[in-house]
């Protein structure tokens, strides 16, 4: 039933972890690559420590911004307690990138786990590293860019 020409990614976690920021970086990198892309998220209550989830879909032409249940190709989860509640989104054979996909102790700043997990995701997607770097650069303040480039590399090379 799902559209084979569209790739579906979900980034999930809890408020304050940088889920929205990670999906902004992802959306930006895809956008730079030249695909049609849509990114859906819900603001408001999510800022208060609750579950947060963003959907990113891309391909030649994307209609709905929301990933249908059971059609997610890549599920990136920033918080271990959010894995099970999001698992039904994943399609059979889809890739789960859980928070333990990178060794947290190797992060200079643990708050860059979001970007480190994008590094892991980047191994699966056809997006040049330059686009990722540019997406990180335009989405983060200068003073935390270096630590996030480092986190991205850790995920990408892990």
């Amino acid at each position: 039933m799902s559209n084979p020409n569209v790739t579906n990614v979900i980034v999930a976690g809890v408020g304050g972890q940088g889920v929205l920021k990670a999906s902004d970086i992802l959306g930006e990198a895809i956008f730079r690559r030249g695909f049609d892309v849509k990114k859906a998220e819900v603001h408001g209550m999510s800022q208060r420590g609750g579950s947060v989830k963003t959907d990113v879909r891309y391909g030649e032409k994307v209609y709905s911004p929301m990933v249908p249940i059971g059609e997610c190709d890549y599920l990136v989860v920033l918080s271990a307690d959010q894995v099970e509640i999001n698992r039904p989104s994943l399609k059979a054979g889809g890739v789960l990138i859980a928070p333990d996909a990178v060794d947290e102790n190797r992060l200079t700043n643990k708050r860059s786990l979001n970007v480190a997990l994008l590094g892991v995701l980047s191994r699966h997607l056809d997006i040049p590293e330059a686009d990722w770097r540019e997406a990180i650069r335009v989405n983060l303040p200068e003073k935390i860019q270096a630590v996030n480039f480092e986190a991205f590399a850790l995920g990408r090379n892990s």
Binding site: M1, N3, V14, G15, D24, G27, E28, F31, R32, D36, V37, K38, K39, A40, E41, V42, H43, G44, M45, S46, Q47, R48, G49, G50, S51, K53, V62, Y63, S64, P65, M66, P68, I69, D81, Q82, E84, I85, P88, V138, N139, P141
Partner: protein
């Protein structure tokens, strides 16, 4: 920060949320004023408009925002007013009459609905307002359309001399999609107030004429609806399946039923009767798929046409690709339920927490209000007993005090936030002094110095305008005293927690009218507030 380009020129391809796209169109159309009150999912429109250089303001509430917008549009300016769906209720009084008077300039009212209630107290459908007030309505389905239709709505408003709705929903507001702006449109004409007493002074004699004129205009616009390309067909699936839809639902329909012909109503009120009739009569099976109330289905049914509509269960919540597949498959089996996520909660270190702990301990009957502090209803506090709408805490508390037995009445406390108090708590406080309950009353104003729930916006009590420039600062305790509250206290819930508890307990025992302003900045906003105050050259406390 989040946008990859700040070029305002045409041609650049941008990845924008619907809210960002509306803001950019406002700037490109040289809108002279954007007015509103923060409310998810509409808030970022005016913030972005301001960041892009547009003159934007938060008003105390949506009614005032719309009134200011009306005045500016009477003066010939292009104006945007933004609100969430429930805010339009607050602004409904001026809305219904500005439809009669019309405007000299352009007035576009952006109303953002929240089907599924991601962050709202109800899921009312603003398409009803278009019909009730007689205000034409556009419904964009993505950010490009949000941009294009904002420009078109401004153009049409000016041409028709009527206010026009741009109705969006959470998934349009907060989804990012690709937009190619086409640069600036024609410059607005110079502003000027042209006296038109029968046209603008709605005494009954003039309003009777104005109402008839409005209905004649809507009849003419209904013919335009049949010719405009905003109402268009897509797909070439042949005559077997046709879907009529609007807004974000169009996108889900294209994914769920790529084989269907779709009639998409980008301009959804007045409905294009001719196009709908043609579409229905040339498709063997025609299904109306819409989020929320069956508004289109009712309109099409009233035309005497037979179409299928969704079953009642799909009135609730958002639609999605999966749900639309089920509607088309006539699948009435129970929908699979996704595991529930972690609910939001009051932040660790939130200054409101102490108050709710005390209210729980004192076994208070708490009439609550709209804001972060509504989360005081959830465990571990469960210290909220009612929540109706902005400002209702005070009136509802007073109503209870009037009728319930004295021992219960003495436990009633109204709890309201600072921004909500300015929005519509002031009149409740006047009521408290005017129609005082026999047992007196206690209102607690939780003042964290920001409109926290919607993402830390300014309001009159912060003393800063939307763009954080300094402004006259409304002093809430002065308002309390001025309206006749006998005892007004300002207490820091961290520095003086014992005093807070004693004051609440003692106020409940007395027959006095008391307001306790529990004042301590939002921990999320603290750093931002300090930075702004330093930039403004006036560090506070």
């Amino acid at each position: 920060m989040s946008n990859q380009s700040d070029s305002a020129a045409g041609g650049a391809r941008l990845l924008l949320s619907g809210n960002e796209a509306i803001a950019r169109a406002g700037v490109d159309a040289q809108v002279a004023l954007g007015a509103g009150y923060p409310g998810t999912p509409s808030t970022e429109i005016l913030e972005n408009f301001s960041d892009l250089g547009g003159p934007a303001q938060w008003s105390p509430n949506e009614k005032v925002a719309l009134e200011v917008a009306i005045g500016a549009a009477y003066g010939g300016a292009r104006v945007l007013m933004t609100t969430k769906h429930v805010g339009l209720n607050v602004a409904a009084d001026p809305l219904f009459t500005v439809a009669y008077t019309g405007v000299a300039g352009a007035l576009v009212i952006v109303v953002a609905d929240d089907p599924g209630m991601a962050s709202s107290q109800n899921e009312q459908d603003s398409r009803r307002y278009a019909r009730a007030a007689g205000v034409p309505m556009f419904e964009p389905a993505d950010s490009q359309e949000a941009y294009d239709m904002t420009l078109e709505a401004l153009r049409r408003s000016q041409e028709w001399g009527l206010p026009v709705f741009l109705r969006v929903t959470t998934r349009v507001c907060h989804s990012k999609t690709i937009v190619t702006p086409h640069g600036r449109i024609d410059a607005p004409t110079p502003t000027h107030f042209e006296r038109d007493i029968p046209g603008l002074v709605m005494i009954p004699a003039y309003a009777r004429i104005a109402h008839k004129k409005l209905r004649e205009q809507l009849a003419a616009i209904s013919e335009w609806a049949d010719t405009t390309e905003w109402n268009g067909l897509s797909g070439s699936g042949g005559p077997s399946l046709g879907v009529i839809t609007s807004g974000i639902v169009y996108q889900h329909v294209r994914d769920a039923a790529p084989e269907a012909d779709v009639l998409k109503l980008g301009f959804s009120y007045p409905v294009p009767e001719g196009k709908i009739r043609d579409f229905v009569t040339t498709h063997e099976r025609c299904v109306v798929i819409e989020e929320g109330d069956p508004v289109l289905a009712e309109a099409i049914g009233a035309m005497g046409l037979t179409v299928e509509s969704k079953s009642e269960r799909y009135r609730f919540g958002e639609l999605s690709v999966e749900r639309i597949r089920r509607i088309l498959d006539r699948d009435e089996s129970p929908e699979p339920s996704m595991p529930k996520g972690k609910p939001p909660q009051l932040c660790v270190g939130c200054p409101h927490r102490k108050t709710f702990e005390i209210l729980k301990e004192l076994n208070c009957i708490v009439t609550g209000d709209i804001g972060c502090y509504t989360l005081g209803v959830l465990p571990p506090f469960q210290a909220m007993d009612t929540c109706v709408c902005m400002g209702a805490s005070i009136g509802v508390g007073l109503g209870l005090r009037h009728v319930i037995p004295e021992d219960e009445a003495r436990r009633v406390v109204s709890v309201i936030g600072d921004s909500t108090f300015v929005h519509s708590g002031v009149t409740g406080l006047i009521e408290m002094a005017y129609n005082r309950p026999r047992t007196g009353h206690l209102t607690i104003i939780l003042d964290n110095g920001t409109t926290a729930m919607t993402g830390m916006q300014e309001h009159p009590g912060t003393g800063r305008r939307l763009n954080h420039d300094p402004a006259y600062q409304l002093v809430i305790e002065d308002v309390c005293r001025a309206v006749g509250i006998e005892r007004t206290f300002v207490i820091d819930p961290v520095k003086a927690v014992d005093e807070l508890k004693d004051r609440i307990a003692e106020s409940l025992k007395s027959d006095a009218l008391s307001v306790i302003i529990v004042r301590r900045p939002c921990i999320l906003a603290l750093a931002k507030i300090k930075k702004i105050d330093t930039a403004n050259g006036e560090p506070k406390g």
